[in-house]
């Protein structure tokens, strides 16, 4: 009975009831879902949820939802990390730990997949959504409906990954999914299919985000904001978008070809019949390398906002920062072979790609120096975002250096597939991307939600993370040199043991850090009345997003600003023109809410699930309904609402009363500001 197909190839035995860990995790997931859905019902918030969040096309809310996805998936991905570290600390010699290899393999596969694609990507996309339109003085992104579509495709792809836990299994082929292991013959279960469809669907979302934000940045800046007057975060967003647009199609193809092999029996990557395994590796990393720059550039952009703000000086070397960012963007397309130096290419090929890999470290170095020079002779203050930034500058540099070591093909031959590689990329991703996301989260949280995050718990979280990082990952460099390969669930070399135990201790510190962050969020929500951001400018900021209220009104700006320099808000502060009242208000068009984006997301989930479990009728129906939704949307002309001039005036006048009451109009408090006069 357990082995009878229910629908498609889904059976009762597809639920992994023999694994206590999986069943426990499932029970926990169900508990959380019940609590969340129950709370919404108890507080009668379904209507509110539908009207304000599920059907919104407002970039500010979409950004918040992206960050929520990222934070939830951070917890899931981190649970995977704790399991890996604890398993490796325990499973020495005759002790086998608590994770059999078939389970361990799924854990490292889901850890990598989740952290890159369902934590980092949504996090940075969320920050882009929250900040960029406000920073460029725009009312929304270029394509608000497509923005919502991107969000829901990402969210449901994360759901596909999550549902692989109780129903079926996950890929055992790593986050990179190399054949022949990922081919049907060696991965006959649904795991790889879940992985393929989750990535394909979220990839479409990312591609659309790239198109959306690049168009927004190039075409919707406020008058007077030339490219060289844009905030640095906008520059890095633009370059990230270019990478998304040009890299994601390659992933789409790589995975599509793998799917064709698995579903139709083609021979792209099979062993035999004319298949070419190395072709997959080549295609995957052609995407994979730009992808890591996609996740790091926005973090660099965040740091470029934070350092000038908290050092009270304009960014040093803005022009070189722009050139460095553009150089990184272009060169990132020329280094991908360094992920497979050992696959067998000749020394000429390896040397060229090794050289390019070393060269790409230079513009990053330029950025580090510019941040340091920005701080030099500044009046520095150290709220949490600045702490994350300082932790980044010091720690990331080590990771960058280990990258340059790996860039040497002969060294790579020794270190490939060892824990040295793991240490390197976590050493750049955690202090680089993750700290940047945490810094941006703290920095823009008040703008998005209207109150500040608790500072004390933020500081504790930072120290726990920083120390935890060093304890968790520095031993991995040593282990790499000692020859320990990656992805091992058991080992017999006693020399490795103490290092793995130190690493497990590190992960416990990081767990404490995450605990502090969860506490921070709960405490901040509880104490939000005390930490209200009444002025909209909690950090004495330099850029346009701080000129509007927190949270910003639905139309962002009552009147689009006219920009004259870089650091447009600093310019206003210098000239004593802060919060100057416009002489009139008028009707403003805003995108109307629609359930279609959320509907397409749900249909996409059905499609993915149907494809995974071979429920062909489900896949066909959801695909057709998706087409219908898109055609309906594409035939709708009346998609905007109007906020009347009177309503705008009411909102703005209420804000001006508030600003006067707290003295935010007092121009003298800003007189120290010095923008870059460009």
């Amino acid at each position: 009975m357990l082995e009878t197909d229910l629908i498609g190839r889904l059976r009762l035995s597809s639920i992994p009831y023999q694994s206590g860990i999986v069943m426990g995790a499932t029970a926990f997931m169900i508990l959380v879902i019940v609590i969340v859905l129950g709370s919404i019902t108890w507080y009668r918030k379904w209507g509110y949820l539908y009207r304000e969040w599920l059907t919104t096309l407002d970039h500010k809310k979409i950004g918040i939802m992206y960050v929520i996805v990222a934070l939830v998936m951070l917890l899931r991905g981190f649970a995977d990390a704790v399991m890996m570290r604890s398993q490796q600390a325990l499973a020495f010699g005759s002790a086998r730990g608590y994770l059999p290899p078939q389970h361990y393999d799924q854990i490292f596969s889901s850890h990598g997949t989740i952290m890159i694609l369902f934590m980092a990507m949504p996090f940075l996309t969320g920050l882009m959504n929250v900040a960029v339109p406000l920073q460029i003085g725009a009312r929304d992104v270029a394509f608000p409906f497509m923005n919502a579509l991107s969000l829901w495709l990402t969210a449901i792809s994360a759901m596909l990954i999550m549902i692989s836990l109780p129903i079926g299994d996950f890929s055992r082929a790593g986050w990179s999914g190399y054949p022949p292991l990922s081919e049907l013959r060696y991965s006959p279960t649904v795991g790889v299919d879940y992985w393929i469809w989750a990535l394909e669907l979220t990839g479409i979302g990312s591609l659309m985000t790239g198109i959306n934000f690049l168009t927004t940045i190039l075409r919707m800046r406020a008058p007077g904001m030339t490219l060289m007057r844009m905030p640095m975060f906008v520059w890095t967003t633009a370059c990230t978008n270019i990478l998304m647009i040009l890299a994601f199609p390659v992933l789409t193809i790589a995975l599509a070809l793998l799917a064709l092999d698995r579903y139709l029996g083609t021979h792209f990557f099979t062993a035999g019949m004319g298949g070419n395994l190395m072709l997959y590796v080549n295609l995957f990393w052609m995407w994979g390398h730009p992808e890591v720059y996609i996740v790091i550039l926005p973090a660099f952009g965040v740091y470029s906002e934070i350092v000038p703000t908290f050092a009270g000086k304009p960014l040093f070397g803005y022009t070189s920062m722009v050139y460095a960012t553009c150089a990184i963007t272009l060169i990132s397309f020329t280094v991908w072979l360094h992920h497979f130096f050992t696959m067998g290419a000749g020394p000429d090929v390896n040397a060229i790609f090794g050289l390019a890999t070393m060269i790409i470290g230079i513009p990053t170095g330029v950025k580090i120096f510019n941040w340091l020079f920005t701080m030099f002779r500044g009046r520095i203050v150290f709220p949490t975002p600045m702490l994350w930034t300082l932790g980044f500058i010091i720690t990331f540099t080590i990771g960058g250096a280990s990258g340059v070591m790996l860039a040497l093909p002969p060294a790579n031959y020794v270190l490939h597939n060892s824990l040295f590689v793991i240490a390197h990329f976590h050493n750049v991703l955690i202090p680089g991307t993750l700290f940047g996301m945490f810094a941006g989260y703290t920095y823009w949280f008040p703008k998005a939600l209207g109150f500040r995050l608790d500072e004390r718990w933020g500081v504790r979280a930072f120290w726990a993370w920083l120390l935890g990082f060093y304890f968790a990952f520095m031993p991995l460099y040593v282990l790499g040199f000692m020859g320990m390969p990656r992805r091992m669930e058991h080992y017999t070399n006693p020399a490795w043991r103490p290092w793995l135990e130190i690493a497990a201790f590190g992960v416990l510190l990081i767990l404490a850090g995450i605990g502090c962050q969860v506490t921070q969020l709960l405490v901040s929500i509880r104490d939000r009345a005390k930490n209200i951001d009444a002025s909209g400018d909690p950090w004495d900021g330099r850029t346009l997003e701080w000129t509007v209220s927190s949270p910003a009104p639905v139309y962002n700006f009552a009147r689009i600003p006219h920009v004259h320099t870089r650091d447009a808000f600093s310019h206003q502060k210098e000239k004593g023109l802060v919060h100057h009242r416009p002489d009139g208000f008028h009707d403003i068009k805003i995108p109307r809410n629609t359930p279609l984006a959320f509907a397409v997301g749900m249909l996409a989930f059905g499609f993915g699930f149907g494809m995974v479990w071979h429920i062909w009728w489900l896949a066909a129906i959801t695909f057709l309904l998706t087409l219908v939704c898109l055609i309906v949307r594409g035939s709708s002309d009346d998609v905007e609402d109007i906020v009347s001039g009177a309503e705008v005036e009411r909102i703005e006048k209420a804000r001006y009363r508030e600003l006067s009451a707290i003295g935010a109009d007092d121009q003298s408090r800003y007189a120290h500001h010095q923008p870059a006069h460009v």
Binding site: T215, L246, P582, D583, S635
Partner: protein, 205 residues
């Protein structure tokens, strides 16, 4: 600051009403999407060339290609590109009937292209040379069929546009979508130039 009140207003705020740039933004965004599609096809081309000699004992490219058939397809698609252009010219002159007429011709030509391609595929499969028989055949079918799928999406888009024009006339949003459709259609003809050169002509040499 020694500016008058109205100078100050102009200094600080952009004039209202703000310029409506929806059509131009949509066209530019669509162009960027086409750039991503270039990369999509580029990956397929790279895959095809890599696997172009992976015959696995099956048929070679010379054995499956019939250049006369390919030339037919090429000229049909090229004609459809021009008729699409004529539809756009009629649109700018607001000649609704002519737009519908030229779009209908474009549709028929596009449908002809697809049926010629399907004929080719079906005869190959019938001869036992389907996409599952070698790496080369997998790559051949996938590259050509991805282009064909794009064309099919274009056909569907055309039907939707013709319905919109019939119901709403040539409103600004409809014109904006037609512009994007024509960009798509011309782009597909450009990709086809690559396909017939790399797959068919080169495959015979």
């Amino acid at each position: 600051m020694s500016m008058s009140a109205s100078e100050l207003q102009h200094y600080l705020f952009a004039p209202h009403p703000e310029e409506e740039e929806a059509t131009a933004n949509a066209s530019f965004g669509f162009w960027i999407y086409l750039m991503s599609d270039c990369i999509l096809f580029a990956s397929l081309f790279a895959t095809f060339v890599t696997l172009s000699r992976s015959y696995a004992g099956g048929p070679t490219s010379q054995e499956i290609i019939h250049l006369g058939h390919t030339l037919e397809e090429t000229l049909v698609l090229l004609c459809s590109s021009v008729t699409c252009g004529f539809a756009m010219l009629a649109m700018y002159r607001r000649q609704l009937r002519r737009v519908l007429g030229w779009l209908a011709v474009t549709f028929v030509l596009g449908l002809t292209f697809i049926s010629l391609e399907l004929q080719e595929f079906l005869s190959l499969v019938a001869a036992g040379h389907g996409p599952t028989h070698s790496g080369f055949l997998s790559a051949f079918f996938t590259l050509v069929a991805t282009h064909g799928t794009h064309v099919t999406v274009g056909l569907l888009w055309m039907l939707v546009m013709m319905a919109q024009i019939a119901v709403k006339g040539l409103s600004e949003p409809v014109q904006s979508r037609l512009i994007r459709f024509s960009m798509f259609w011309h782009f597909l003809d450009i990709v086809w130039v690559g396909v017939f050169t790399v797959v068919y002509l080169n495959g015979v040499l």
